[in-house]
Amino acid sequence: MTPILSPIAGLLANITPVVLAFRPFLDPVPVDRYWMLMLLPMVVAIAVVYKTIKTDRLEKIPRETTVLAAQIVAFMVMAAAALWMLTELV
């Protein structure tokens, strides 16, 4: 191997196992940029589980879950807006 390529080969040898071989449940998924969107599945899960336990009739679960999830998101946005105003405007 030429002297010019040997540092590159060494670098690739170090990063190759991580970059090329993603192993589910062993290596994390790069979702740093979307962390705020990842809150939505949690809200849906909370609403589904809560309504599944509390609702007597299962056929009412989709509608009640949708309403509860929308309420949670709405209040999260309102709380964020209030905190933003508190920190930026006051």
């Binding site: 449940f25 062993l26 994390p28 899960a45």
Partner: protein, 195 residues
Amino acid sequence: MVIGWSGAETFAPPDPWAGPASLERPDLSDSTANPRWHIAGAIAAWLVPGLGHWLLGQRKRGVILLISIGLLWTSGFFIGGVGVFDRAGHPIWFLGQMLIAPSIVVEKWDRSLQGPDAAPARPDAAVIPYTPSYGHVHEQGVLYTALAGMLNLLAIMDVLYQDPASRNRHKRTAEAPPAEPTAAEAETVANGGGI
């Protein structure tokens, strides 16, 4: 006056998954209330989310809980990797995670990968045991799995102490025909008395 169901014996069939008879709450108020302790069902719900409801006969409810809680837990495990189950690193969060039994197994696996018993990684090793997560990825993984555990706690509590009269109150009032007044009640009303 109690109209309608005379007791839970006719409403709730004998439950093989219920706890021992000595753990049943004694009937202190009236004959319509017969809450039941389901110890085995609660343990089953801890082992597998939704299994407690399934064993109590509420199979659709159990399947919904299994899918929702299981998907949340698996998503957190998938996003953050095995490193999100770290009892030494964040013990408080692990309390939430361990409300689903498989978290304990995964935590043991995590320790076996990084502990002193793990195979020593050579400098030229082609495969490292696992890649730890950091920042938002780690936070999301921990949050997902801990939240799944706490939601499973709700399901466990719902299985552990379940009042059949309360669970099916709406259904029974919708399905039950209006009760016919007894002869004594009709006579009382005819004489101008209240019930």
